[in-house]
């Protein structure tokens, strides 16, 4: 029963989600909406689980005075402060939006902006025309990079860039998408039919 129950539940829910695509039946439409509502509830609970897990992980590091425990203290402090600020002052007023605007937003933007430096350094070191394939990739990358900015437009590279995006890029992307789609369909059928059971955990 421990194994049959979840497999049976997976089959019923999976079939319901499949069938609702093809029928205007009101009862099925209502069950479909129920499932979507439950999905949101479960997702919300996973967020809580994530916060609790983060807290416990860092709390243990602080308690054991592990290397870098002061960073953990900062993490726990930040977490507690933001939760407290949102509860006491609501997320729209007081310290919560202030911290978002003046601490979180600049920090996240700064970290992302650092990518420009690392991309420049990495492309200088690693982007090598070692063989024909690498040379083709490199040429396409350079053309698209220049073709997407006004400087490249001025020398007509935007047309070649658009061609690369429209044909070779599109063909490759579409091939990947079809492959992924077929893989997802096959996996979904296997889960509904109870063939794929790894989601039940080890030994299922």
């Amino acid at each position: 029963m421990k194994r049959t129950g979840p497999v049976l539940l997976g089959f019923v829910i999976g079939m319901l989600m499949l069938v609702q695509h093809f029928t205007p039946d009101r009862w099925i439409a209502e069950r479909y909406n129920n499932i979507l509502d439950w999905k949101q509830v479960v997702f919300g609970l996973t967020l809580i689980l994530g916060v609790v897990s983060l807290f416990l992980y860092h709390w243990r590091r602080i308690a054991r005075r592990e290397e870098g425990w002061r960073y953990s203290l900062l993490t726990v402090g930040g977490l507690a402060f933001m939760i407290g600020a949102a509860i006491l002052f609501t997320p729209s007023r007081g310290p919560y939006p202030w911290m978002f605007e003046h601490v979180q937003a600049p920090m996240q933007s700064t970290l992302f902006a650092l990518l420009a430096f690392y991309v420049a350094s990495a492309s200088y070191r690693a982007f090598r025309a070692r063989n024909l394939h690498a040379a083709l990739l490199l040429s396409a990358g350079v053309i698209v990079m220049l073709g997407r900015v006004p400087l490249g437009e001025a020398i007509g590279l935007n047309h070649i860039s658009t061609w690369i995006l429209d044909y070779p890029n599109l063909a490759a992307k579409r091939g990947v998408m079809i492959g992924v789609g077929l893989g997802m369909t096959a996996t979904a059928i296997k889960i509904i039919l109870g063939i794929e059971r790894t989601y039940l955990g080890r030994g299922a």
Binding site: L36, Q40, S109, A113, G152
Partner: protein, 297 residues
């Protein structure tokens, strides 16, 4: 017969060129910083053309009539603000200037702060009134269920707006409740959410959709544009600049174009230099190997 090279000594010119492949990365960082900062301080005013994707995106907003409704989803967080904020602001300015009513939301927990700032700015510039001309529904966990559920009922998906006001009490949401009532859906995103909107709101409910994406993500959504599943899209800061030009109001997108042009050119220069260094190094290593073999012989 040419004289053999001294064992282990590469040709001098190749050795000099090989040094191009060993530039200290601190120089690279310094040059990248300068290439971004200087054009922002002293703009070059490079001409900005418009792509067909941006023109299609613009045309979709342009065809909306006063009183029409648009869903605007802020699907990004502060890390990509610099790239995506300009297109969000430009789109909302365009929509408000045409009297389009906006139902805004976000699928990211870090999105409400961004949405409130940009909505507030665009709405105050055009004297739009909250509740009547625009609403902000806030963040809802689980984007897939949110997108699908909104096709059935927006009020049920978001029983209250971001500020806790019941959705049924908002004048705008009393008149519209599902995709069928909405003329256009706009998603501005740094992730694959544009694809999910296309699959769930477009594929299932026939919702017309345009997207604003980071430059990296834009490459991945070309197939949806070609098939018409996306009616138009903006790619990266360049897309934002193009859109700003199309609506006739320059902003951060246009301002950033010079910096991006110079930075891209610099990166291409680094790639070329790195390759010259790499080939010179390979050549001198080969020459040294040949010389060593000749010496042994």
């Amino acid at each position: 017969m040419p004289a053999p090279l001294a064992a282990g000594r590469p040709p001098r010119r190749a050795g000099r060129l090989a040094a191009l492949g060993r530039v200290d990365r601190r120089w690279i960082f310094l040059l990248v910083g300068a290439s971004v900062a200087l054009p922002l301080l002293r703009p070059l005013h490079l001409p900005i053309g418009t792509s067909r994707e941006a023109r299609a995106y613009h045309a979709e907003v342009e065809r909306l009539q006063p009183g029409d409704e648009m869903i605007f989803s802020f699907d990004y967080e502060p890390d990509t603000m610099a790239e995506l904020d300009p297109m969000s602001l430009a789109t909302l300015r365009h929509a408000f200037s045409r009297g389009v009513r906006v139902i805004a939301l976000t699928n990211y927990a870090g999105g409400p702060g961004i949405a409130l700032r940009i909505l507030g700015q665009a709405a105050s510039e055009h004297e739009r009134q909250y509740g009547r001309d625009y609403v902000f529904l806030g963040y809802n966990p689980d984007y897939s269920a949110t997108m699908l559920r909104m096709g059935e009922s927006i009020r049920s998906t978001f029983p209250t707006d971001h500020f806790g006001t019941p959705s049924a009490e908002l004048p705008l949401l009393r008149e519209v409740d599902r995709y069928a009532d909405i003329e256009l859906l706009v998603t501005v995103t740094a992730s694959a959410l544009a694809e999910y909107w296309v699959i769930w709101a477009g594929g299932r409910f026939g919702q017309r959709i345009v997207a604003g994406n980071t430059a990296i993500q834009a490459v991945l959504i070309y197939p949806y544009y070609q098939t018409g599943q996306l009616a138009g899209f903006l790619g990266g800061l360049k897309g934002a600049a193009e859109y700003e030009r199309l609506i006739g109001r320059d902003g951060a997108g246009v301002r950033g174009m010079d910096a991006q042009s110079v930075a891209h050119l610099l990166i291409v220069c680094f790639i070329v230099l790195g390759n010259i260094g790499y080939f010179a190094q390979r050549r001198s290593a080969r020459a040294a190997g040949d010389a060593a073999r000749d010496g042994e012989a």
